[in-house]
Amino acid sequence: MIRAVRSSSFAIPAAVVAVLAVYALGFASSYDQRLLTLAGVYLILVLGYQFIFGHAGALSLAQGSFFGVGAYTTGILATAWNPGFVVTFPLSILCASLIAGLVAIPVLRLQTHYFALATLALSQLLLLVAVNWEGLTGGANGLAGVPPIEVLGWTASRGLPLLAVVWAIAGTAMLVARWQMGPDRTASFTVAREAPIAAPAFGMDTQMMRFRAFLLSAAFGGAAGALFVHTNRVVSPETLGFGVMVTCLTMTVVGGRYTVLGALIGALLLTHLPEWLRDLDRYYLVALGVLLLVMVVFAPNGLAAFVSRSPSRTAPNSLATAHPADLVRGDVRLVATALSKTYGGIRALDGVSLDLQPGEIVGIIGPNGAGKTTLANVLTGTARAESGTVLVAGIDVTKRNPHEIARLGIARTFQTPQLPSGLSVEDIVETARRHAAVPQPPETNALLSFCGLASIVPIAADTLPHGTRRMVEICRAVAARPGILILDEPAAGLTPKEQLDLGTLCRSLATAGMGILLIDHNIDFLRPITDRLVCMDAGRIVADGPPGETLEDPRVREAYFGLDIQ
C-alpha cells in the first residue's frame, strides 16, 4: 500500500457534507438551497475534471462540452418525450462518454497544448451545432420547460428535494472518485504525469490510463450537465459555452486538482463567491477577479492543501536486503538486427545489429550524436525503427509499444533521470513494482536496501542529489525484475565512490543472469566491468569486441578521439 495520499482524507469531506446537511435542513433559505444545489452539480463536474486535468495532467478544454452534451441529452429527451429521469440521466452520461470515446482515438495521442486545442475545437464545433441546429436544440433560445426530476412517481421539486437528489448523486460521485483514485492509482498517475517518458519503460500503459481518465471525466461531466438542466429547467447554448469550462478550470485550480476535498472546496466556494459579492453592484466581478488572483497566488496548489496535509513518515529501522537472484528474470536474450532510423534527414541508426546474452555486460561508447541513445530508444520501443527487427526472448517486439516491451523483461534508465516530483523514493519504486506484471516481484524495501537506498526511503525523490537520483532510477528499473537492463549514461555526474558501487551492483546482477547494456562515455568506468565494448559512430557500429581490443581499434580512435580533438 502506498501511503502518499492520506488514507483518512475522506473524513474531512464527509464532515463538510454533514455540516452542510445540517445547514441546508435547518438554516438555508430557498436561495441558499439553490446555491447549494448548484454547488453539488459543479462538484460532480469538477470531480470529473480532476481525472483528466489533475491526475492525468492533460489540459482538456472539452469538460464544458461533456457537461453541455449531458445537458442537451436530458433537455431534448425530456422536452420531447419525457421518458423520466431514470432514462434521461443514464443516457446523458452515456452520450457524453460516447463522444469522449470517439474523439479519444485521434485526440488523446496529442500532447500538451495540441491536445488542449483539439478539445477546444471540438467544444466550439458542438456549440456551433447547438446554436444553428434550431430544429433539434431550439437554437440560441434553447429548450424551455424541462420537467423536474421524477423517480417512481416522486417529484424532486425545487428546494430541499432537488438539493437532496443532487447531493445524493454528488455523494456517490465522491465515492466513485475516491474508489477510482485510491492511493495506488493516484501514485501511478503521478508517475505517468510527472515522468511521461519513463512510465511506459517500466510497463505502465499510459495511453490506457489517459483514456480511462478521459472517459471518466466525460461521464461525470455528462451527469453534472443533466442535473444542471433539472436545476434550471431550461437548456441553452451557455451550457456548451466556454464559460462553463472556465468556471470548471477555476474551481479545480482554486480548490485543488487531486483530492475530493479540493473539488468540494472549489465548487462550494466559487458558486457562492460571486453571490456574496453581488452587493458591490457593478464592481462585483472586478472584486471576484481580485479575490481569485489573491487565492491562487497564496495557494497555487489549491486551498485543499491548507486543510489536509500528508502525514510525515520515518525511515524504517532495518530492512532485509534482496538477493540478486530474486531480482533477475532468467534467460532473456536481446537480439537486434539491422536497425535503421532517421531523424530529419540524419541517419541516427544505420543498420545496427546487436546481441546481448543473459549475464553479459556490454558497454556502448561513441561520440555525441553517434546514435547511442537512439539505439536504447529503439530497443525499448520509445522510438520506432524504420527497418530491422528487435527480438526479446525470441519475440519480435519491433512494432510493440514501450509498456509491452517492458513487460517482456527489458528495463531501462534515462540520460536525465525521469523521476516524478512529489513522490517518495519508496512510492516510486513501489509503483514500478506494481506495474511490472511479473510473478514474485521483489519486496520494495528489500530492493531499496540492495541498492543502498534504505536510509532515504521516505524522502521525496526530487529533493535528492543527482547521484542518488540516478540510483533511485536504477532501483526502479530493477523493480520490474527484468532480464535485460539498459542504462543510459549511468556514471555521468557520479562520484568515484558512487561509480564503484554502481559497477559492483551491475556485476552482481549480471552474475545472477541479467544482461546489461551500459551506454556511457566514461572508459574508466566501463573497462573493468564490461564483457564487450561496442563503439558507435554516425549511426553505425564501428567496433565490437572485448574492451581492450575495441579501445585499440584505429577506427574507434578516429571516430571517438579524432572528433573530440577537432
Binding site: 445547514y23 436561495y31 429547467r233 451557455e238 486543510v307 489536509s308
Partner: protein, 375 residues
C-alpha cells in the same frame, strides 16, 4: 494535529453559512427587484433597462435593488431567488435576454410574481404563464412593422435578411420570414452571424449578388453599425431597414452622420426623436441621471415600471393585486398605450425611424399603431 482538518472544515462551512445570515428580514416596504444583465454581451441593453426602471422607481415609496443576471439562465435564476427571498416583492423587473426569461417564467409561476420586461423574444408570451408582461412590442409587432415598411413603403420585392445567431436574432428572423411571406415578398437571401464576427464584407457581397432589393438587418448594436458602415463603403445600392439596435443612440454614435444617411429601423419608440412635452421631460431627466441618451428599452422599462407603480397607487399590495391590474388595466405610457392581449403582450405599436444624414438623431417616419388590434 487532528483538530486542524476539522477546524478547516468548520471554516468552509461557516463561510457558506454566512450567506444565510446576510439578508436581513425586517418588515419590508413593497419591493421591486430589478434583474437585468449589466455585465456580459447584453449589458448595453440591460443597462438601459436598469436605468429606465431606476428612473421610474427613484422617488417612489417602493424599495428596489439591482441584481446582475449576466448572460446565462443559471445566474438569472440565482438573482431571482435571492431577490424573491427578500420579502415584500410585488413584481420583478426581468431581463431582456430571451433564454433568461424562458428560465424565469416557470419560477415566477411558482413564486406567483409578475415579471415586467422588455424582452422581444416571441416565445416568452407563448408559454401560457399569467406572470409575463412585456412592455416592448414583441417580435410579432416590430417585425411586422419592419417587413411592412420595407415592402409597402419602399417597394421591396426581394428582401435579404441578415440576423444574429443569438436568441434575439433567431426569434426575430422567424417573425420576419413569416411577415415577408404574408406580404408576398419572400426573402431571397438569409444568413446568420455570430456576435463576434468581424468583417461583414463577405456577407454583404453575397447580399448584393443575390439580387436583393432591400436589406433587413436583425443584429445587435455593434454588428448593426458595422453592417451599415461596410454596406456604404461597398456602395450597396439598396435601402437598409435595421432592427431596433439601430435606434439606440450608442449605435448611431459609432457612425458618421453621412454613413447613417437613409438608414431606417424599426423600434418600439425613439425617445430622442419625440417632441412631446412628457417625453422631453423624461429624456432630460434620464440624461441628468445617467449622462446617457435614453433608448426605447429604457423608455419601455420606464413605462412598465410606472404601470406597476400605478397599480400600487390604485391600492395593489400583493403580487396578485399587481398581476390583476397588469392583466386588466389600460396604461397610457410615454411611448404608447399599453394593455395586455391576454398573454402578457402589453405593447402593440411600433415606429419606423430614419436617419437623414445630417445628424445622429433619427426622425420618426411612420407609426404603426395597434398592430395587434388589442387596444
Amino acid at each position: 494535529m487532528r483538530s486542524f482538518p476539522f477546524f478547516g472544515a468548520v471554516v468552509i462551512v461557516a463561510a457558506t453559512a454566512w450567506s444565510a445570515v446576510m439578508p436581513t428580514r425586517a418588515e419590508d416596504p413593497l419591493r421591486i427587484p430589478v434583474l437585468v444583465p449589466i455585465t456580459g454581451f447584453l449589458s448595453l441593453e440591460g443597462t438601459s433597462q436598469k436605468n429606465g426602471a431606476e428612473l421610474a422607481l427613484v422617488g417612489s415609496k417602493v424599495a428596489f435593488s439591482v441584481e446582475d443576471t449576466a448572460t446565462s439562465p443559471e445566474i438569472a435564476i440565482n438573482a431571482f431567488e435571492r431577490a424573491a427571498d427578500a420579502g415584500g416583492v410585488v413584481a420583478v423587473v426581468a431581463p431582456m435576454l430571451g433564454t433568461q426569461m424562458l428560465a424565469l417564467v416557470p419560477l415566477a409561476d411558482e413564486f406567483e410574481l409578475p415579471l415586467v420586461t422588455v424582452s422581444g423574444t416571441a416565445k416568452i408570451t407563448d408559454l401560457g404563464s399569467p406572470n409575463v408582461f412585456r412592455f416592448f412590442p414583441g417580435d410579432v409587432v416590430v417585425k411586422e412593422a419592419q417587413a411592412r415598411y420595407a415592402v409597402e413603403e419602399l417597394g421591396a420585392k426581394r428582401p435579404a435578411i441578415v440576423y444574429q445567431t443569438t436568441a434575439y436574432g433567431q426569434s426575430g428572423r422567424a417573425e420576419l420570414q413569416d411577415n415577408l411571406l404574408a406580404l408576398d415578398a419572400p426573402p431571397v437571401f438569409e444568413e446568420g452571424l455570430d456576435v463576434s464576427v468581424k468583417d461583414l464584407l463577405p456577407v454583404l457581397t453575397k447580399v448584393r449578388d443575390s439580387g436583393a432589393d432591400a436589406l433587413l438587418l436583425h443584429l445587435h448594436s455593434g454588428p448593426t453599425a458595422l453592417a451599415v458602415r461596410q454596406a456604404k463603403a461597398l456602395g450597396l445600392d439598396m435601402p437598409i431597414i435595421a432592427g431596433s439596435a439601430m435606434h439606440q443612440p450608442e449605435t448611431a454614435a459609432l457612425l458618421a452622420p453621412a454613413e447613417l444617411g437613409g438608414v431606417c429601423a424599426e423600434t418600439g419608440s425613439s425617445p430622442v426623436s419625440e417632441t412631446s412635452e412628457e417625453v422631453r421631460t423624461f429624456v432630460d431627466a434620464y440624461r441628468r441621471a445617467f449622462d446617457r441618451e435614453p433608448d426605447a428599452f429604457a423608455l419601455g422599462q420606464y413605462d412598465g415600471t410606472k404601470m406597476v407603480l400605478a397599480a400600487i397607487a390604485a391600492g395593489a399590495r400583493t403580487p396578485a393585486d399587481v398581476r390583476t391590474y397588469l392583466q386588466t388595466a389600460r396604461h397610457d405610457g410615454l411611448a404608447m398605450t399599453y394593455m395586455s392581449d391576454g398573454t402578457g403582450n402589453m405593447a402593440h405599436s411600433a415606429v419606423i425611424i430614419c436617419y437623414d444624414g445630417e445628424d445622429r438623431v433619427p426622425d420618426i417616419v411612420k407609426r404603426y399603431g395597434n398592430l395587434t388590434g388589442v387596444l
